[in-house]
Symmetry: C2
Subunit: 665 residues, 2 copies
């Protein structure tokens, strides 16, 4: 970042620049997008329950869990949480609205958000997507209203990222026309299950289905784990105990000891067991069936990514407003009115994160839109839907979730530090923001595992080999015979071609174009992605060819694999931002957004400028020029920084921070 | 990080390498150093009170505060906390021992650590260093035993980093032979004062001394704020309320409303007010007096840096042991026994942090040693002590504190994520580690402000202009007339020369030397420091010369200033590590340490490789070679990784994490 360039040239450039007048409402409307009304409803609900932010500190765990549940049920009564369900059961029939509502909820207490996610997203989503009319009729109305609480019992202690290998078993007993659900060992206990420790009456349980001695892989069942508040026979539940945050979410562990449930407990959208014990499925290939089932649950990842991005907005709003009023030296001479935000370092700390937040927000809007389109097909689950669209969506959701949640962790930390010791007091939001969002990077899929999934998608180019590989890691992909076939036949030349097609003018783009030319910025990110991907494919193939063990090959290429997935996702994020800005009329709002978009693009390139230099795409001089341009953009953003965070539309009542935000101290 | 290099050459290198057999006890002894016995005493005390880690979760705030106080008092009874005080008052008479004891305390509950720091370091240190025999006789024995609790009332709400400008006033009333202490406005209330909300009977209060209408700057007073548990008249105390962590420390705010204290309340090591109201001081220059007083408190920064480094060891131990036993895919075929720690990415996440921890540990040992030497002079405070040694110590303490506490924040976060969702449960240590250490980056001096202090020291080359500049920011330094003088007269040529002297062969070092040659590694870091420093000096001067406002000049150069201070400190850290390894006999322990030292050096260079390329000190090919070498070092460290963290000597009872660390799941 540091350069020795003299400053005057920058000055001259700056004199020609006019600071845009930001219309905060207009910008908020742009961010809120198609679902402005939905977001306003959530804001109103959050303000109504703003006291819960204080309760989170003051109440004991048991009391706070009840408080959170009450707020969730109340929010359900406003229609806020049921927007993604069919109207005939009291839902809103609009999946996009449901996503917008959920991510806006991240402005408030995050136990409420996670409880909503568990009840309506995970549990409700399983009933809706994996169940059929019999389950919908029986459960949907009550779960949408919050009258019946449920949980999503997938994760097991010993099988965190590897759902296909989970150990819980459901054996069909044709005599009794029942399934018998059993936890065979402690590694197969269900773990970290939200809603399980206190509130759930029902559970969507994932288990290995066995019929007549034959295993058919993982299927989901809806079962009672409590009746009228009491845990049923055959089920044992333990509280997970204290956590870093999310105190209002009752996470628990569940063991099944021969629990008997009726045949109709099988959520039978993709598979059926007849009364006499015949297994039937419209999808023959068991792997394909498994991934089709799991694919319906992609919504969870989209939701967590959006939650991270929006939680970060709260931190950015507080830190930016604080820095705009706080003087570094209160006792300085009065003509030296510098505020913290006037300092170059402080701008460098905060503004790239504001720009990244905008970029991720618009990228998230694209993912949410795609999810809406894919899942708003003819039926609740349509296996005929364009499979490629689904897989692109899954990869995009995985990448955005990883980047969005890491953004949250990093941003909240930096904002806390930027508020000094005062940021450490709980009456400001950072305590809860940090503790509650921390787990986002690892739940609904560990970020590193998700990026491997993205990379695998890129490598296989969504080819037909996909369904023969496990979804949850490159290891077995590399280890299996599939690797040679895939890498040889498809990846190396086909992928190169497909990505090269994206580059304007193929490899002939102008490496000396203006730094603020979005075509230049995009070409840089596209080149990086293409080059990294080719490198990964070659290294995998060479490693296997040289006779190294697949595990060793993978271990050595893993950081390259993950860097590639990140490069891919950053390219998608920048494309989304550029595309969004292109839709805005040529007025001041567009000028402001262009500053942010340039700042996002150039800080992304700057962060990896060593790679670009190593690969001959950036000279030393141009690399330094990028750093200067970033600092220059920060100075241009300075006068509108507060407007830019105010446009997030986080209600004042949710910011708390009375001392940090008090004016005219 | 990602490269497309074929892997076989690395293999050949690796075949020649023999994994060292690590003697864990020997390595622990090396880390423990001169104060092994002291550290063992602290470990034993921590294990005895290990239950407090559980109490921290289970007790309410009020109860836990008492619990922490009891543990502190009990530890005091073992001599652990009084090692730095004179033996005649019951202390141990060994400042180095006191630092070793304090930093080892960071393996346990950090409320205990901070309470100890407040009572014995800050409050006790003020009495010892700023007071004279009358104060020592009156207070030391009782404070060393913990019979009397005290607090350190320096920080004010509106004057966080700017102690010289604080607002509390102490007026001398010659008639009554008393000082009258007053808080003039809310910005001048004492804030975040540890021990103030519940336990302190005494306070070391920093206030502007006024005698006969004349102000003499900030001085310290020892005053009763409570007697027998009741707050005295003239004092108002408010609880700071809930914090992110450190629940067992009772932080409070204090206002003084004309509190009358006797003349002898002035801690009069550096200044005296006679009964009739004459002000006397052996140091004429008020600035020099102020910084001499503050300089005696450098111990606090050294302590916080050490605490951060040692808290990070707990996280590294848990995450490394966990990754060594956890399989990514439990259900893989049995011949595929990969553990998490076998994965390249996981090694890349954890091992550079282990290496950095060792590096910082040895750098901290150097700082602690210097502090011991400087403060073990003839008297408790000896203004005749080599002033340059003191200033070098202050700069070194500031830099090491910044790097050590950022290391803690980053390391603990990464280790939490590396343990997946399980890391989120409080029964593992991450919840407390994260929440409790978070404030380290901003207390005892915000890290960015501290690095500016380091840079200022470099720029002025500890010249005589130093005392005319404020200590807490470059702003007024740049703004003042001093700047031109300093930059012109001393910095540009003198500094260049002084740093060039450090380079082996001046600028003629071998840029193509072996990557694992410590002379090469050090030359790289020295070159960077020299070049950055020269650039900063030139930019400051050019900016001022061109007529820009000083504030604007500073704002633009600030990130460069901070990068320079960081580069300087990293060079010191590497030097400390290299020097330590050189003292170790040529056996396996040395081989192991060399792997870590190389890894620290090369990851430090790798992280800034863009800068080195931009400045012509690294070719693309060599930059890529460094990344490959780092991965290679990680593979070599893999088999000894658990030994390396076990050598930290964190007692098992303090790790908790029963599920994460259970063997043979």
């Amino acid at each position: 970042m540091a350069t020795d360039q003299a400053t005057p040239p920058v000055d001259r450039r700056q004199q020609a620049f006019r600071t845009p007048a930001v219309d905060v409402d207009e910008l908020t409307a742009l961010l809120d997008g198609r679902y402005r009304e939905v977001r306003e409803l959530v804001r109103a609900n959050l303000v109504e329950h703003a006291q819960i932010l204080v309760d989170a500190e003051e109440m004991g765990q048991a009391e706070f869990r009840e408080r959170v549940k009450d707020v969730v049920v109340h929010m359900a009564s406003t229609g806020q949480t049921g927007m993604g369900f069919p109207t005939e059961y009291g839902g809103g029939g609009d999946i996009g609205a449901s996503l917008a509502a959920f991510e806006t909820l991240a402005f408030g207490d995050l136990s409420v958000l996670v409880k909503v996610g568990v009840q309506f997203g995970l549990f409700g989503g399983a009933i809706l997507q994996l169940g059929t009319k019999i389950h919908h009729d029986r459960y949907l109305a009550d779960l949408i209203s919050g009258r019946t609480m449920g949980c999503f019992a997938m994760t097991e202690t010993g099988h965190g990222s590897n759902v296909q290998a989970l150990g819980t078993v459901a054996r069909y007993d044709a005599e009794a026309e029942e399934f018998v659900i059993t936890t065979p060992d402690d590694a197969s206990r269900k773990d970290y299950i939200g809603n399980a420790a206190a509130h759930a009456e029902l559970a969507a349980v994932f288990a290995q289905l066995e019929v007549d001695g034959e295993s058919h892989g993982v299927h989901a069942f809806v079962v009672h784990i409590r009746r009228d508040g009491a845990v049923v026979d055959g089920v044992r539940i333990e509280d997970c105990g204290d956590k870093m945050g999310l105190d209002g979410v009752d996470n628990g562990r569940i063991w099944f000891d021969g629990l008997r449930v009726p045949r109709t407990a099988l959520l039978n959208q993709f598979a059926e067991v007849t009364p006499e014990g015949r297994y039937l499925s419209p999808i023959d290939n068991p792997n394909r069936r498994f991934f089709t089932m799991l694919g319906t649950l992609v919504q969870g990842r989209v939701c967590v990514g959006g939650a991270g991005i929006n939680a970060a907005k709260v931190a950015l709003t507080i830190a930016t407003r604080y820095a705009d009023r706080r003087r570094q030296f209160e006792a300085s001479s009065t003509d030296e009115e510098e505020r913290l935000l006037d300092y170059g370092m402080h701008q460098r700390r905060l503004f790239p994160m504001i720009a990244e937040n905008y970029a991720l927000h618009f990228a998230q809007e694209v993912v949410a839109g795609q999810l809406h389109d894919v899942f708003s097909g003819p039926g609740p689950v349509d296996t005929g839907t364009d499979e490629q669209a689904r897989r692109m969506l899954e990869a995009r959701a995985a990448g955005t979730k990883a980047l969005g949640t890491w953004h949250a962790t990093r941003t909240i930390q930096e904002c806390r530090e930027a508020c000094g010791g005062a940021g450490y007091l709980s009456e400001n939001r950072f305590t809860a923001l940090k503790a509650d969002t921390d787990v986002f990077t690892t739940f609904e899929g560990d970020n590193h595992v998700l990026l491997q999934l993205v990379a695998k998608g890129l490598l296989t180019d969504y080819s037909s080999e996909f369904e023969d590989m496990d979804q949850f890691g490159m290891v077995r992909f590399v280890a299996g015979v599939a690797v040679e076939t895939v890498v040889e036949r498809t990846a190396v030349h086909k992928l190169f071609q497909s990505i090269r097609d994206l580059l304007p003018g193929g490899d002939e783009w102008d490496q000396e174009a203006g730094l603020l030319d979005p075509n230049y910025q995009l070409a840089m990110l596209r080149f990086r992605e293409e080059h990294m991907l080719g490198g990964v494919a070659r290294r995998l193939k060479r490693g296997i060819d040289s006779g190294m063990s697949p595990g060793a090959v993978f271990s050595r290429v893993q950081d390259h694999v993950i860097a590639t997935a990140r490069a891919h996702t950053e390219r998608l994020v920048l494309e989304a931002f550029v595309a969004k800005v292109a839709t805005v009329p040529d007025k001041d709002t567009k000028v402001a957004l262009n500053l942010l978009c340039d700042l996002y693009a150039l800080t992304t390139i700057e962060a990896d400028r060593a790679w670009f230099m190593e690969h001959g795409r950036l000279s030393s001089a141009r690399s330094k020029a990028i750093s200067r341009e970033v600092s220059d953009l920060c100075r241009k953003i300075r006068p509108i920084a507060v407007d830019l965070v105010d446009a997030f539309g986080v209600p004042d009542a949710l910011l708390r921070s009375p001392e940090l935000l008090a004016w005219g101290e």
